[in-house]
Point group: C2
Chain length 284, copies 2
């Protein structure tokens, strides 16, 4: 993976020799500078001798100092080059298209790294055992809900999606224990959604919430999955956070598919075959 070198450094910090720890500390603090340093500079800065630096590199499995710098550079590059998207500038099509893609990627990576895998696992278990799964969302999250419904429907799960308050409430009233509701909100502050969630919980359903940490919705649900996206929602309707929600639902769906076991795979192929007559045949 990308941050392998850093992880390795932190993990093995204990079993490093003392002077090597000095090097490790300096590298962890100033990685950007290190990649442009010579071995003498690094040795001086870290208050150790040059061979110590070499030994440090070897201890990390690198083939010398240069190789270490190369890997460090790659690791850094793989991380933080996806800046937040800024609309203020008047770019060309190519440029702003590029930056929209990049900022979406940045968001995904950030969400990926902050995911609570514990909660994720619990959510998957709940979904896998559910009798019925409903997706609630308003506005842009409504589209996410419908997408989720489509996905889970394909997994042979009784599922529906509602972007309408009345429908949500009517449906929520009929929920039972063992049913699962997934409430989706970019802000986590939509009053109507919180109301629907409350009804669903009172009916005995488990409610999973896709929303920002600390939001009113997060307080209300059984199992919050936090998605915090630093986003400029001032003007444009939330773009990247919606994508993050969709991908997280992908994760949930795959997780459910995995726990449901391989016999599901057969059924999925059947579903796919059923679509074939509706399509033009694949070339060759």
């Amino acid at each position: 993976m990308s941050r392998a070198l850093f992880d390795e450094m932190r993990r093995r910090m204990e079993l490093f020799r003392r002077s090597e720890q000095k090097v490790a500390r300096f590298v962890l603090r100033n990685p950007e500078e290190v990649i442009h340093m010579r071995i003498v500079d690094l040795a001086t800065e870290a208050k150790v001798s040059e061979p110590t630096v070499v030994r440090f590199c070897r201890a990390l499995g690198c083939n010398g100092f240069q190789d270490f710098k190369l890997r460090l550079a790659q690791m850094l590059a793989s991380g933080s080059q996806f800046a937040q998207f800024s609309m203020s500038d008047s770019d060309s099509v190519a440029e702003f298209s590029h930056s929209i893609f990049d900022s979406t990627v940045g968001t995904l990576l950030s969400v990926r790294d902050r995911l609570d895998n514990q909660a994720l696992g619990e959510a998957i278990d709940a979904l896998a055992m559910a009798n019925r799964v409903e997706f609630y969302g308003f506005g842009a999250s409504g589209a996410v809900a419908f997408d989720a419904q489509h996905k889970f429907f394909r997994l042979q799960i009784s599922t529906s999606a509602y972007a309408d308050l009345h429908m949500q409430n009517m449906s929520a009233a009929t929920l039972k224990e063992g049913d699962v509701v997934v409430a989706i909100s970019q802000t986590g502050r939509t009053r109507a959604l919180v109301a629907s969630v409350r009804m669903a919980r009172e009916a005995g359903a488990t409610v999973i919430g896709l929303c920002p940490n600390g939001s009113p919705l997060a307080e209300e649900v059984t199992l919050p999955l936090y998605i915090d996206v630093p986003e400029d929602t001032e003007i444009y309707t939330p773009m990247t956070s919606r994508i993050a929600h969709l991908v997280l639902i992908d994760v949930l769906a795959v997780g459910v598919a995995k726990t449901r076991g391989p016999k599901l795979a057969e059924q999925l192929k059947a579903v796919k075959r059923s679509l074939n007559p509706l399509r033009f045949p694949e070339p060759e």
Copy 2:
């Protein structure tokens, strides 16, 4: 940016000196090896002298050969660490969640780099001038269509989305010149969608198609925007290509917003304000 070095090399290939072109060609062909090469090796492989290699690096704005290798390594790292997602292995939640995010990111980057900005610009212009914009899609692409509808609705554009064949046809029959249809399909081979598109075109509408290159749908539309995603659709419903479609629609929406000018921003804020009473207030 990430691929800056490669772009720069290809762009300036003409105005390189002949021996430097040899170097450029070799680097473009074997970038992975180059980052572990010494200057002598590269010079030998490219059949030039060592100083030529140095001059080549300088011509690219690098501070010598080492600096060039460093940048090259960074560029490579920023690209290809997001492998395709493979479901066969029985990972932990953390692992497969990670790999789903990564493969989505990989898809986005690949789509980003293959985009035809020319066509994209034309699509944006068509959308910006349209009287009415309709989004057609079936299945998973239906959810994408609804999302798009929501987004363009916020841009003060008369818009609707149909995931139903009859609705599409009825709507298509009433289209006029100056209206734009966006047809969305992961496979590009959905018969019903192609039929709807044909009707829309006969009615005089411009049809933008989000679909794979070479697909039947691509042949039928006025303005194809190719999205080719190497994806294992064998079992799971298309995941990453759907995301790519959504992001591309983000790009279209932002492009339209930009061409429509800043007065739109005011209206957007008004829309956003209208939602506030429906939400819990923001903290502090």
